[in-house]
C-alpha cells in the first residue's frame, strides 16, 4: 500500500472517502441574497480538485463491479455459462437474472418494463446481462469477457414501418401497462392526439399551404462525469448507496423492491454529479452495485467508461415529423396538422411524457385555432430513449420553425415578421385549450434578438491575414475565405416547466435557524440533486433573503429528508427553490413568534408592524431594528421540514388532447450567424445570440451559464451530434467521443444574451424555469442560417458535410 493509500485508509476506516460534505458559505462581500451573482459554494472545491464526484468514491476494501452487456440487439438467450468467470482469481461474485433476490425483477420510471438483468431475451444492443465483482476493475472486465452467452438472434424492429407491419415481432409480448389499452399497436408505447377547432375547414381558407417532412437524429446527453457509485453493505442488512443521479427518491422507489428491502434500509446520498441533462433520470448502476455489495458483503464501486456510458443511459428520442402549415396572404396561420413519431427504443423510460410534450407543444409559441396533432412513441429494438434537456419540445421546435421559414418564404414575408404576426401573448389559448396566464413575450424576444448588432463581415480577417480558427474547417486550414458564404437564421420556442399532466409534483425543504457564537446561521437540507445547475447557490441566496442571515450551510442531498423531485424539466429553482422559500417563511414566523413572546411587551411594533428578518435582525417594514435574531433565539433552534407544490395540472384527454396539462411556459429566441464553406460543406457558427424571458433572475451569472450551455447543446445537434444506429442490426456504431462529437471551444461561438425579466405571478419570486428553452430554438436557428447560406432544403439534423455538397 502506498503512503497515500495508507493515509486515506486511516482517515477513511469503515466509511468511504469522497462522500459529500455540507457546503458552508459565509459573507460573500455583498448581501448574497436573491438577484445577485453570488458565487457557487462548491466552486473552490471544484477548482482545487477536492470536490468528490461519484467516480472518486473510495473504500479501503472495496471491489469493482462490471456489467456484461449484450452484443446483439434482439435475441433469445439460449444459455449463460459463468463458471470460468467465477473461477478467475480475484473475482468475488458473478450474478445473472437467476440470482435476483426477489420477484421484483424489473424497474422503470413510469412503466416497470426494464429487466434488472436480461431474462431469456435481450431487446437492445448493450442491455445488461450479467454482473461481476472483482478486486481490480481490469480483473472484473476480463472475467466478464469469459462469461459465455449463447444468443439466438431474433428479427429487429427499428422504425414505424417495421414496428407496425403485419406480423411484426413484439418488443414486449404481454403488455399490461396503463397505456396498452389505448394504443393502436403493442409496439406503440403511448399515443397522444390533440384536436382543436376544425383543421379541414381552416385549410380551405389558407392561401398558401406548406408541407414538410423532418428527421431529428438521436442525441446523447454526453455529460462528462460517467455513471458511477459506491454501494456499501450495512450491518442492519441494508445498504448505503452513494451515487450521481437526478432524483434520489425516484431511484429509491425503484431500487428497494428489487433488493427486497424496506426503503429506510436503502440510504442514498448524492455524490458529486458531473452533469446530467436528463441522462441520469433512469437508473444505471444503482441496483447492480447494491446487488453485488449485498452478495459479497463488501463495498462495491462501479464506474462506467465512456464506451459503456453510451449504453448505460437513455438518449434523446430520434423523431420523424410531418407538418402541414397553412396561412393567409396577410401572414396569419390558418391551421397546423402534424404527426410526430418518436423512437422510444426497447424500454419505455419517460417516453409517455415525451409524447405529451411533443404533442402539446407541437405548434410552437404561435396562435393557431385549428390544429390536428398526433404524437406517438414506438417500442423498437433501438437503444432506449428518454429524458434529455428539452424533452419532446426540441424535436417539434426543429420542425415547426423550419415550417415557419418555409411559409414566410412562400408568402414573400420576412421570417421574423411572420413569426411576430402569429406570436402568442399572455391570454393565448394553447392547442390543449389551456390559457397561457403569465407573460409570453414571444414577439418581443424576436425583436430583441434581431436588434442585437451583427458580427462584422469577414470576421476572420486580421492584420496578419486570415485567422483559420475563425473559419469553417478551423485548424485543418481548409479555406482562407474562398467559397465561404454567410447565412443568418432565427427561431423561437416554447417549453413547459415542471412535471405536467396531473403528476403530483412537489418538493421538500428542511430549514434550520440557530444562533452560533452570537450569530444567527441557517442550514438548508433538501434531496435536490445538484448536477451543476447551481441549485446549491440559489438555496443559500434564498435563505439569506428570507432569514436575514449571512452564513448558510447546504447539507448534502440524501434520502433522510423528503423528496425534492427531479432535477429536470427546468423545475428545480421553481420547485425546490420554492420549497426552501416556503419553509424559510414558516421558520421566520416561528422566529417572530419567539420574539413576540420574549420582547413583545417592550416595543409596540412587535404586535403592530409587518416584521422581517434582515441583516441579522428582526426589523419592521419601516426598517427599524427590533432585536438581533441571535438574541431572539438564544439556545433555541427553529427547524422545520415542509413540502411545496405547484398549481395542480390535468391529464390530456386521450382522444382530444384537451386539458390544463402544464404549469408554466418558458420562451427563448435565437439568432444564428453561420459561415459555410460551400465547396467542402463545412459550417462555422460565428455567433449564436439569445433572448430569453427568465421571469426573475435569482442569480444572473448562473442564468447566463444555463442559457449558453443549453444553446451549445442545440448547436451540437444542429451540426455534429448523432448516435448512429445500424438500420439492419440495430447496433450502435459510434459509442465514443472519437465518433460521437460534441462541440469544442473552437466549435462554439460567442453567445451574446438579452435577458428579460417579466414576473410570473404564480411562481416563487416570479421566476421562470430556464434550463431547457435555450436548447430548443438554437438548433432550428442554426439550420435556418445554413439554409439561408446554401439555399438547400435541409430537412434533417444534424447537418453533415455531404448534405451540403450533395456528394
Amino acid at each position: 500500500m502506498s503512503t497515500a493509500e495508507q493515509n486515506r485508509a486511516a482517515e477513511g476506516g469503515r466509511t468511504p472517502t469522497g462522500v459529500a460534505r455540507g457546503l458552508t458559505q459565509g459573507a460573500t462581500g455583498t448581501r448574497g441574497g436573491i438577484g445577485e451573482s453570488t458565487l457557487r459554494p462548491d466552486g473552490v472545491l471544484k477548482v482545487t480538485g477536492e470536490f468528490a464526484y461519484s467516480s472518486d468514491l473510495w473504500h479501503e476494501d472495496m471491489l469493482w463491479g462490471h456489467t456484461l452487456r449484450s452484443t446483439v440487439a434482439h435475441a433469445r438467450i439460449v444459455s449463460i455459462d459463468t463458471a470460468e468467470a467465477l473461477a478467475t482469481p480475484g473475482v468475488y461474485a458473478v450474478l445473472t437474472y437467476d440470482d435476483l433476490p426477489t420477484e421484483v425483477r424489473h424497474y422503470g420510471l413510469e412503466i416497470r418494463d426494464t429487466p434488472v438483468l436480461a431474462h431469456g431475451k435481450v431487446r437492445h444492443h448493450g442491455e445488461p446481462v450479467a454482473l461481476v465483482a472483482a478486486d481490480h476493475p481490469e480483473t472484473a472486465r476480463r472475467a466478464a469477457a469469459k462469461i459465455r452467452v449463447v444468443y439466438e438472434e431474433l428479427p429487429v424492429v427499428t422504425d414505424e414501418a417495421s414496428a407496425t407491419a403485419p406480423g411484426a415481432v413484439l418488443v414486449h409480448e404481454d403488455r399490461d401497462d396503463h397505456h396498452s389499452g389505448h394504443v393502436p399497436h403493442p409496439n406503440i408505447v403511448h399515443r397522444q392526439p390533440i384536436v382543436r377547432g376544425d383543421a379541414d375547414a381552416a385549410a380551405r381558407r389558407a392561401d398558401v399551404v406548406v408541407r414538410g417532412e423532418y428527421v431529428f437524429g438521436m442525441q446523447d446527453q454526453a455529460f462528462l462525469g460517467p455513471e458511477s457509485g459506491l454501494a456499501v453493505p450495512a450491518e442492519d442488512g441494508g445498504v448505503d448507496l452513494y451515487v450521481a443521479t437526478q432524483w434520489l427518491h425516484s431511484d429509491l422507489r425503484q431500487i428497494a423492491p428489487v433488493l427486497g428491502l424496506p426503503e429506510k434500509k436503502v440510504r442514498m446520498t448524492l455524490s458529486g454529479v458531473g452533469g446530467a441533462f436528463g441522462g441520469r433520470e433512469d437508473l444505471s448502476m444503482q441496483i447492480h452495485g447494491c446487488l453485488l455489495a449485498l452478495r459479497t458483503g463488501k463495498p462495491v464501486k462501479i464506474v462506467y467508461n465512456r464506451f459503456e456510458s453510451f449504453f448505460g443511459h437513455v438518449h434523446r428520442h430520434p423523431a420523424k415529423l410531418t407538418y402541414e402549415h397553412g396561412a393567409t396572404r396577410e401572414g396569419k396561420l390558418t391551421h397546423v396538422r402534424c404527426r410526430i413519431v418518436l423512437d422510444g427504443g426497447a424500454y419505455a423510460s419517460s417516453s409517455p411524457a415525451v409524447v405529451g410534450n411533443a404533442a402539446s407543444l407541437g405548434v410552437g409559441p404561435y396562435v393557431v385555432d385549428d390544429v390536428d396533432i398526433e404524437a406517438l412513441a414506438l417500442y423498437t429494438n433501438n437503444p432506449p430513449c428518454g429524458a434529455m434537456r428539452g424533452f419532446g419540445a426540441v424535436q417539434a421546435c426543429f420542425a415547426y420553425e423550419a415550417q415557419m421559414d418555409k411559409v414566410a418564404a412562400e408568402l414573400g414575408m420576412d421570417p421574423v415578421e411572420f413569426r411576430q404576426r402569429n406570436a402568442m401573448e399572455q391570454g393565448a389559448v394553447m392547442p390543449t385549450g389551456q390559457v397561457v396566464d403569465s407573460p409570453a413575450p414571444v414577439a418581443e424576444l424576436l425583436r430583441r434578438v434581431k436588434a442585437m448588432p451583427l458580427p462584422p463581415e469577414r470576421q476572420w480577417e486580421t492584420t496578419e491575414g486570415a485567422d483559420v480558427r475563425a473559419l469553417p474547417g478551423g485548424l485543418s486550414n481548409t479555406t482562407h475565405g474562398e467559397g465561404v458564404v454567410r447565412g443568418i437564421g432565427y427561431a423561437v420556442g416554447i417549453k413547459n416547466v415542471g412535471f405536467s399532466e396531473g403528476f403530483d409534483d412537489y418538493s421538500t425543504a428542511r430549514v434550520r435557524i440557530e444562533a452560533i457564537n452570537g450569530e444567527a446561521v441557517a442550514t438548508v437540507h433538501t434531496a435536490m440533486a445538484e448536477v451543476g445547475q447551481g441549485g446549491v447557490t440559489v438555496h443559500a441566496q434564498i435563505a439569506r433573503s428570507e432569514l436575514g442571515v449571512t452564513q448558510v450551510t447546504i447539507n448534502p442531498a440524501d434520502t433522510q429528508v423528503g423528496s425534492a423531485g427531479s432535477t429536470s424539466a427546468s423545475r428545480q429553482t421553481y420547485m425546490t427553490g420554492g420549497a426552501v422559500k416556503n419553509t424559510c417563511e414558516a421558520v421566520r414566523e416561528k422566529v417572530l413568534a419567539i420574539g413576540r413572546r420574549k420582547f413583545g411587551t417592550y416595543h409596540p411594533a412587535w404586535a403592530t408592524a409587518e416584521l422581517l428578518l434582515e441583516d441579522g435582525h428582526v426589523v419592521t417594514d419601516g426598517g427599524e431594528k427590533l432585536a438581533p435574531i441571535a438574541e431572539v433565539l438564544e439556545d433555541e433552534a427553529v427547524d422545520l421540514e415542509l413540502e411545496f407544490r405547484h398549481r395542480p395540472t390535468q391529464p390530456f384527454d386521450l382522444r382530444t388532447g384537451q386539458g390544463n396539462g402544464h404549469v408554466q411556459y418558458s420562451f427563448a429566441a435565437h439568432r444564428a450567424v453561420v459561415e459555410v464553406d460551400t465547396e467542402l460543406g463545412l459550417v462555422k457558427v460565428v455567433e449564436l445570440a439569445c433572448a430569453q424571458d427568465v421571469g426573475k433572475a435569482l442569480n444572473p451569472l448562473s442564468v447566463a451559464g444555463q442559457i449558453q450551455g443549453g444553446s451549445t447543446q442545440g448547436l451540437g445537434v444542429a451540426v455534429m451530434e448523432e448516435i448512429v444506429v445500424d438500420p439492419v442490426t440495430a447496433k450502435v456504431r459510434n459509442p465514443s467521443f472519437t465518433d460521437y462529437l460534441i462541440p469544442t471551444i473552437l466549435d462554439t461561438p460567442s453567445m451574446p444574451l438579452d435577458i428579460l425579466e417579466l414576473a410570473d405571478e404564480h411562481a416563487p419570486y416570479g421566476l421562470r424555469g430556464i434550463g431547457e428553452a435555450p436548447t430548443l430554438s438554437s438548433t432550428p436557428a442554426v439550420l435556418a442560417a445554413i439554409r439561408q447560406a446554401t439555399g438547400l432544403e435541409l430537412n434533417r439534423t444534424p447537418v453533415r458535410p455531404e448534405h451540403l455538397t450533395g456528394s
Binding site: 493509500e5 477536492e50 464526484y53 460517467p226 467508461n305 465512456r306 447566463a704 451549445t712 471551444i745
Partner: protein
C-alpha cells in the same frame, strides 16, 4: 511493478501496478489524487490533463510506467502552499466558469500552461489551447471569460 515519480513537487510511489494501468488510474486510485478526471479514458476529452515534465498530456493515454522518474503536475498542485487559489483557479470561480466542474481540473491545467507560455493570449489563442478540453455544461463563454480575467489579473499584478 513499482512506479516512482514526483507529483506536485513530492516524491510518490505505487506498488503492484499492473502494466496496463494508466497514469490517470495510478493518480486516482493508488495515490489518492482523484482531482484529475476520467470522462472518456480514450484521449478525447482532456478531463485528465496533467503536466508531464511541464507538457500537458492526457494522463489516461500515458502508461503509468512512462511516468517513472518524471515530474507530474495535477490540478491538486495548482494552489499555493497554504491552499491559496492560483490566479487561474480564482478566475474560474469568479467568472462562473464552473458548473458541474467535471471538465474544470483539466481545463485549469491546460489554461495554466497557456498563460505561462503566452501571458496575453488572444481569444483565438485561448480557443486553440483549450480545444482538447470538452465541457458539456457551460458553452465555454464563461471559460473564455475566466482565462481573459486570469490574464488581465496577472498582467495587472506585474
Amino acid at each position: 511493478m513499482r512506479v516512482t515519480f514526483t507529483v506536485n513537487g513530492r516524491q510518490a510511489s505505487a506498488d503492484d501496478v499492473w502494466e496496463g494501468e494508466s497514469l490517470l488510474y495510478v493518480l486516482r486510485e493508488r495515490l489518492g489524487l482523484p482531482g484529475s478526471k476520467n470522462a472518456c479514458e480514450q484521449g478525447e476529452c482532456g478531463s485528465c490533463t496533467v503536466r508531464l515534465d511541464g507538457v500537458p498530456v492526457c494522463s489516461c493515454l500515458v502508461a503509468a510506467g512512462q511516468a517513472q522518474g518524471r515530474e507530474v503536475t495535477t490540478v491538486e498542485g495548482l494552489a499555493g502552499p497554504e491552499g491559496e487559489l492560483s490566479t487561474v483557479q480564482q478566475a474560474f470561480v469568479d467568472a462562473g466558469a464552473v458548473q458541474c466542474g467535471f471538465c474544470t481540473p483539466g481545463l485549469l491545467v491546460a489554461a495554466d500552461e497557456l498563460l505561462e507560455r503566452n501571458p496575453e493570449p488572444s481569444d483565438g489563442d485561448i480557443r486553440e489551447a483549450l480545444s482538447g478540453n470538452l465541457c458539456r455544461c457551460t458553452g465555454y463563454e464563461k471559460i473564455l471569460d475566466a482565462v481573459r480575467l486570469a490574464a488581465a489579473r496577472t498582467e495587472g499584478a506585474v
